[in-house]
Structures are given as C-alpha cells and as structure tokens.
Subunit: 568 residues, 2 copies
C-alpha cells in the first residue's frame, strides 16, 4: 500500500518543497583520502542537510536571483544563503575513540586533571566536597601521580586528611586505576582480607589496602558507588555533547556503550536533543546483542546514532602497568601486565560478535596484546569474509615485527596522537629505550598499508582535535617538547593526520557514505574557525578557535551567540 501511495504521490506531485541553501564566501578546505586537500569558496546544502556541491575557488558562485535560477529545471538552486565573510570552513572533526558518558559525568564531577601536585589535588577535593554537600560520594577523575612527580601512588590517608566523613573515589587520568579514601573502602567492605581479583591489583600498605585499586580491582569500590539516575545520565550526555560541539567535533565513536548509555542516547534523540553523531560500540558482546539483536542497528535519527560494533578490552594501560607486554616492564622487575583474555577466549568473543556482523574494536595497548589481536584477526578473517574493518583500539606499543600485519585484512589502527605526547616520558620509563620502535607508530601503520583513525580517548585526554592534529605531524606537545619531536620518524603529514580525524575516522565507523567528508551526498557537518589550519605552525594550529559548528546543515554551536545544544 505504502509503495502504491508513493507512486501515486509522485505522479501528481508539483515541484517538491525545497529549502536548499548555500554557505557562501568561505575559505573552504577539506582533506582527502590520498593526503591532499580540496578547496572551495561555497558549499551547497539540500533540505536533508546534505552537501550537494562544493563550489571551487575559480568558479563564479551561483547567482542569487531566484528568477534566473528558475531555469535550473524550474527549481531554485537554494532558498537561503549565509555569507561567511571569507571565514575558514572545514569539515567537522570525528573523534574515533571516546567515551561520551564518561566525558559528561567527568564534566559534572571533580576534574583533577589540572592538579600539578598531590597538595593541589587535595585542595581541589576539599573544595569540591564543600561545594557539593548533598552528593553522597565525592567522585572524580584525572589524577596522575606521574605528572605530580610523586614517585608513589597516592593513598587513602592522603584523602582522609581532607574528606573523612564521606566516601571519595577518584579515577586515574587513564581510567585504569582508582583512588579511594577510608570511608569509600568501608562502604565497599574492602579490608585487609580482600583479595585482588583476576586482572586487577589492590595496592597495599603493609597488609592493608593503601587506597589505590588497579584495573579489575577498581570494581571492588565501583560497585559501591551509587548508580547515577537516568536523568543524571541525560544531563551528562548533554554536557558531553556541548563540549564536543564546542571543540568542533561533529561525530564520535563511543567506545563501550552500555544499555543505560544507549537508553540515554535514545531519550535525548527522541526529543530532538541529539546533535552530535554517535557511532556506538557496545560494552561487550552480550550488550551488543541486547541492544542490536541479531546485528547492528540501522542509522537512526537522520544518521545521528548507530550501534555498529563491539568494544572488547584485552589489556590495561601502560601507566598502571596493566598493558600486556611480551617482556617485563623496564621499571618493575618481572611484571608483564595483564591480558584479560586468552587467545581462545578472545577469538571466541570476536567470533560471537562477527557472526552477527558486529564490527570488532579491540582495546590493545601492550605489544603482547597487539600480537594477540592481530593473530586473532588472521584466524577470524578465514571464517568471516567481506568488509569487516577489524579495529585495534590504541595499538600503542607494537612489536616492530608485527607492524606489517596492520596492512592485512583491512585492519584499522584507531590511535590517539595526544597519548603519545602525554605518555612519552612514562612510556620511556615503562619500556626502556630499546623497545620504542613500534611505539605510537602512526607512519609505520600507513607505510605497511594499514588504515589510521585518530581520536582523543576523551575523557582520558581532552576532546581537543587540534591538539591531536598538531601532535600527529610534530610528535611534540603543547610546549613544543621535545625539540625535533619524539621519534619523529613516526610522524604523519599534516594532511594525513587531518584525514585520520575526519574521513578516516568515518571509514573506521562504516560511516563514510554518510558523513566525514564534505563531498556531494554527505551530511553537511562543518565548522567555521578563526584561522586557516594550513597557514599556521603547529602552535598556531593548537590555538585555533571553533566559532561555529554545523551538523547536517544546521548550526548547533555558535561561540559568539552562545548557541548551545538544547536542554531537555
């Protein structure tokens, strides 16, 4: 019946309603897959929010008179026009690896990432507790004892000295360890008798837990933290979205979506409050199945949400020595980190997901873990053919002998340039000077025929694509350190890095037909910025300001006007 209606409708339809538009007078630049850029002076957008044409710099822009344009098959070329006054317009960034709800909850809880010492951190905890008297637990994240030069983990006693009457639970910057005060351990019933669980470690002070819980041991405390209410989840989502749009990020891969996260995304999208595009990877195979049923969901909400794959954790992080290494840590005799799954377990999980056509995104940081995934991909590829786009998340420390495997089976390295700049001294300590050849080896991935997708791993690092982009072609941090760049042989070009943060990240999410590239047919996701990113040095690039962010031909952030994503 529906088809019949449509046919009939077509037969009698007049010229269809039209709200095509033009974003005119721009310094438009967009990267291409082959490491070049295209330039344009105007962008035509149709009423579905899709790009219909980039007007090249040399071409006369379409005339504005509607009468003249009627000769275009009786249809005006556009119905609205915005003159950008020569401003620079770029594709929206895509962050290929982030944690949307983590970013939002982080924004609503205590952020310790700015603390430069244990004392500063303690002062921040005390101030936050005073400012939030009704929160049952003080929760937060972002501490990094390495950055403080503390030479040890912090302790429960450190926290007790500022908050003794309420539980305090603070995640480390990398998310792989947590720091509790005595009240939190008491509420969680953790005592000297509590054993470290498999895949985790309780730090000790003598016999007693010292207050820091690594990887799987974090659960011992986390299970006692009051669960956020659904409305708090929604508030967190909106908070995260606002931060992303303000940074020029128009789409993200959400790594580890839970059912509650998913329900929150849907609530917000159902009321039209979802602006950013979310490529969702479920927290484990069971969750993927619970949400998606027998496979990925369709693109929902006009390409704003899709559950496409599964995130699987294979090891921990380098900072907490949870990353699984082939040889012991240089700074911890005998310790080799933790692989959460045996080869068989990993392959079984991947197989279960691949069987239902879910994409695989496996977290692997250490060289041992990366070997495991690469081997698993080889095994699985024999059974599960077609366009699978196996993803390795982080791929931080890779045995140089394994790098060539990234060119096989369409494997994608989903990497975070700011991890390199943030981790480099820690990585040197953990690995020693002789095992850094396959570390953060972006160029080697490309040289071996692999594909790169870049992200930030927010909230582990800031959701700041400019910092990631600058790091990617300089191997230097925000202070220009180290001179000449850290292992500069692994830098990629400015254009390659840009692609990995746009079209490459879309490809990694099976979204390249929908968005990620300002080409005809794609969603008009773009940003207006205050400087040309190809005409400034790396430091200038880091300081570029996003003035406007557009998603699907609609302005969703405007720094000047304070346009925000709508509250509920």
């Amino acid at each position: 019946m529906k088809r019949a209606l449509l046919l009939l409708a077509t037969a009698v339809m007049a010229v269809p309603a039209s709200a095509d538009g033009i974003v005119d007078n721009v310094n438009g630049i967009a990267p291409t897959a082959d490491g070049k850029v295209v330039r344009f002076k105007a962008l035509l957008i149709d009423q579905q929010g899709r790009v219909t044409r980039l007007v090249p710099p040399g071409e006369q822009p379409p005339k504005l008179s509607r009468r003249e344009l009627k000769k275009n098959a009786g249809k005006p070329l556009y119905d609205w026009r915005i003159d950008m006054g020569g401003k620079t317009v770029l594709p929206g960034f895509i962050d290929a690896h982030g944690h949307v709800m983590g970013l939002g909850f982080g924004a609503l809880s205590l952020d310790l990432s700015g603390a430069r010492s244990l004392d500063e951190a303690k002062a921040m905890v005390a101030a936050y507790a005073r400012a939030n008297p009704n929160r049952k637990w003080v929760t937060g994240r972002g501490w990094n004892q390495e950055a403080w030069g503390l030479g040890r983990f912090p302790t429960a006693a450190d926290l007790d000295s500022v908050v003794g009457d309420r539980a305090v639970w603070l995640e480390r910057a990398d998310g792989h360890a947590g720091w509790a005060n005595t009240a939190a351990m008491r509420e969680a019933n953790v005592t000297a008798a509590t054993a470290s669980p498999a895949g985790g470690r309780i730090e000790k002070s003598g016999n007693a837990p010292s207050g820091v819980f690594v990887d799987a041991a974090m659960q011992l405390i986390e299970r006692a933290v009051p669960k956020p209410l659904p409305k708090e989840r929604d508030a967190a989502f909106l908070e995260a979205q606002q931060a992303l749009l303000a940074n020029g990020i128009t789409a993200v891969a959400d790594m580890g979506t839970t059912v509650d996260d998913w329900l929150s995304y849907r609530r917000m999208a159902d009321i039209g409050a979802m602006r950013v595009r979310v490529m969702s990877y479920a927290a484990g195979v069971d969750t993927a199945s619970q949400i998606g049923g027998k496979g990925p969901t369709p693109w929902l909400y006009d390409d704003r949400l899709r559950l496409g794959g599964v995130k699987i954790y294979l090891d921990g992080a380098l900072g907490s020595r949870g990353a699984a290494l082939k040889a012991p840590y240089a700074d911890a005799a005998g310790e080799k980190g933790l692989s959460f799954l045996s080869d068989t377990q990993l392959q079984n999980q991947m197989s279960r997901a691949a069987m239902d056509n879910f994409q695989l995104a496996v977290h692997a940081i250490g060289d041992k873990a990366n070997s495991q995934v690469l081997d698993a991909i080889q095994v699985l590829n024999a059974t599960y053919g077609g366009d699978r786009r196996w993803r390795i998340e982080h791929a931080q420390i890779v045995d140089p002998n394994d790098l060539k495997s990234f060119g096989k089976y369409g494997t994608i390295a989903s990497m975070q340039p700011t991890h390199q700049t943030g981790d480099r001294t820690m990585a040197e300590a953990r690995l020693g000077p002789d095992r850094l050849n396959g570390a953060y080896a972006w160029k080697s991935v490309l040289d071996n025929g692999g594909k790169l997708a870049f992200g930030s791993d927010f909230p582990v690092e800031k959701p700041d694509p400019w910092a990631g982009w600058a790091a990617a072609f300089t191997r230097q941090d925000a202070n220009g350190q180290p001179p000449g760049g850290w292992h500069p042989e692994e830098a990629v070009t400015r254009e390659q890095a840009w692609w990995a943060f746009t079209g490459g990240a879309a490809y990694a999410g099976f979204a390249e037909k929908n968005f990620g590239n300002l080409a005809p047919g794609q969603k008009a996701d773009f940003i207006v910025v205050d400087r040309d990113p190809l005409s400034v040095d790396a430091m200038g690039l880091r300081n570029i300001k996003v003035e406007q962010t557009w998603v699907g031909g609609e302005k969703v952030f405007d720094r000047a006007k304070g346009v925000k994503a709508p509250a509920q």
Copy 2:
C-alpha cells in the same frame, strides 16, 4: 536555523505533495463516548495516515474528477481511492491490557489452553517435546486444573511420566502459578528444604515440593529457565503483532514492559516492522525510570510506541488464591490471599512514579487490593493534581462499598470481560454466593461515574475483542451460558462496551488525541469485517471475521491475500 529554513521553505513552496486517499463505499460504524454510534459511507485519509473526514451516509461522496476537485483550494481531495464494495468498516480495537511479549513467546512455546484434561495436557507435552528436540527446556502455558475438573493441582510426577530427561515448566492459564517436572526442580536446585518466599507458595506433597509454584514462588524455577536471545524476542514480537492485527487489534496497552521488551520494540520499529501501536507500561518504577528517564517518552514512530506509565502488581489472581481478599476464601479456610505491598509501600511506589509524571496502572484483583489502591489514589491525588488517569487493572472483586470511589479522581477501571465468563464458576467457588455483588461490576463502575477501558489480558485470555465485546453486554460465554447471563445487572450496553474497547481504551492510555476514534485528526486505524456487528446477535458477533486491518492509513493485514506484518 531550522525554524528559519522552514519559514523560507513555506514561502517558496508550491502546492505540497499530496497522497490523500479515500476508502469509499463502506458500511462505516464507529462508537462514541456517550454510548451512541456514528455511521459513514466513506473515510478520507491524508498523507500522514490521519482521518480528515467521515462522509455521512446521506451525503454525495466527493466526486472523482480531479479537475472538478481542483476548485478545493487548488488541491485534489484525494489521490487514491479504494472501493470497499459496501463492506463494514469499524475502528480498530484497542486492547487496554495485554502482555505483548508473553503473547509472542506463548505462540512460540507450548499452548495448553486447549487441553480438556490432564491426560490431554500430558499428551500435548509429550508431542511438543518430540517436535522440539533442540529446546533445552520445554516451556509453555495455559493449563487450568479447574477446567479439567481435576480437583487438585497437577504434579511433577504427572509430567515426569511423559518427559523425564528435560526440564519442563508450564505456566497456569492465569500466569499466577507454574508447573514443573522433577528435572526442572533439579536444575533450579529446589528441594524439600526450599522455603516458600514471601508472596509465594510452594505446593507440597508430603514434605517435598509437588511441582506447582504459586505467585512469587514461581521465581524459584523461572530463574533457571534459559533467557531468550534478543533475536528470539524479536521473533516473539512479530508473532504477537501478527496475532493482534489478525484479530483486528490496532493498539494495545502493554502491561509490564521490561527493558529487554522495550529494546525489542525499538529494534522492530527502527527497521519499520512495528505496525501495531504499543502504549507501554513499564514493569515497575525503576524500569520506567531506566527507559523513560525523568518522565514518559514522546510518541515515537508516528504514534506507534510510547512509554507512558508504570505497571505495579499489588496482588495475585483468584484462581491460585493469590488475590487479596478482605475475608477468607470460601473454599480455603483462613486463606485471604496475598497483598504484595503494604499501604505505605504502595503509596511510596506510586508517588515515585507520579512525581515523574508516569501514569499509574496498579494490578488489583481482590476486594482488599482494590480498597488499597482506591485509598492510595485518594491520598496521592491530594499531592499530584492534574489529569492523572489513575488506572486499576482488573478491578475484579470490589467491595460494593468501594464502587463509588471509582467515580473519583478520574480513576479508570481497566477490565477484561472474558475474565468474567472464564472465571465465573471459579469465582463462585472462591467467594461463595454472597460476595459477588461487586464482581466484574462493569455497569456499577459506569454508574458511579468511573471510566471503563476493556481488554483481554492476553495471553491469559485470547486476544479476541469479539469475545470480550459479546461477553460485555450479555454476561454469557461462547456457549451462551449461563442463560440470561451471570449477574446480568452488571452488563453494559453493546455500544458502551465497544467504546471501552476503542476510544475508552485510548483515553486510558493518554492516546485519545492520536487514535482510538475515527474522527478527523485521528490516525486512520480501522478494520474491514464480514458482518455488521450491530445487526447480529452476540453469537454472531463472536463469529465476525476480520478481513483487513489498517493502521495509519496503511493496510497491514489482509486475510484474503495473506498480508502479514513484514518479517525482519
């Protein structure tokens, strides 16, 4: 921006695309809220699937020539026409109380409702087990030892004699008891030492469990039943939907939606496979909050899905003596049934839901439970004003002194006429002859100013609105029993009953502005049937066949052509 686009679009738009249509040459009848009917010879539907006009019998139908109709503001009145050849067209039925996934799983598992004796039931179990060798558990429902005249509950030994090697678990027809074989009790670790939980009862044979588990005790076995896979849930939904549409039901109130149910509905709707409209009531307050966040969801998928409220169970059923009575059961000395919640607990739960604007639908079968809810409504109404539409589900046995309370605070009695015909001899046994004045008291509800919404409680009873409709004005079953009707003073009129199965059920779900009534502005949800339901007797009414079912102006079931809701 969007608004600006729309305004511009409007300014330049030609005549909008149109696929209005007419369902012509019908014997159209629809009930009204005041117990009358309207008749129409044609139905005009717009391209959004809404009714724009009912053409009354006396009026010349709109001419067919497009040229002539152009004078209608330059717009033809319709673009497609279907001549129904004088067939009877009625609004789609709305079932105000059902269990969608239960219906679907029931259709996929063993249906014992046709068994007329224990021996027949045993033969059906044996046949099903043979036919389904790969199912780990044999599950099913629909047995009723009362209907068998067994004089006792069946036992595990009865089942063991036909299936000994696999677990068997069969729900009673009313869903308030389950029947396990020995293998099921073994897998569930239920032994003679297992105590009956609060709100439930393990039937005993000597010291040992006999095999039947009542109300909360059912959980002891159910927790061992393998959970269905998401794809099995989706198959169950489609199965249920097909059964509903084939019965002429275009919308249902789903009483007790779980998160997994919700995810299944969304999966099916996301791929366009949801045809029937689902007014969802979450299984408890936490689930409502988990799905809806800080309140009901909007209408989704073109008015096909909305979470609007919360289902709360207050007592059990009459058959299993779980209904909470003020005085003991007539046939079980000292037993008064079970109220699952104290007054305070009930009011707290209702308050939590009402605070977030979720509608309340409280299951109450016994007169004690009904008193409790009515009291709670009075208490809550003082705090939560506005249009709350407090629902009591079943309201089967009401103390005559409480009947007047149904006229207060906009309380809705959501009742199931076929429960009266199915339960009457059992109700007489349970209550004795002197406590039946407030039993299934539909007319008293109306006379006291209360509102009625009718349903079937599928799969407890068949999702057959014709049976419910016929029972409602005759108080007789399919065999015309008892002569003159059972307590005929509580019959409602044919038209009142029809309204309770259409507009009344929509009102009870806050859907009366969307559907439920074939009036302009409402969704065009209608059925084509083989006989005029006002020109046949009750037996004729029960035998009416639904030939076509339309939802939102789209044909979704056609008996002749075997049109089915699309499989995934």
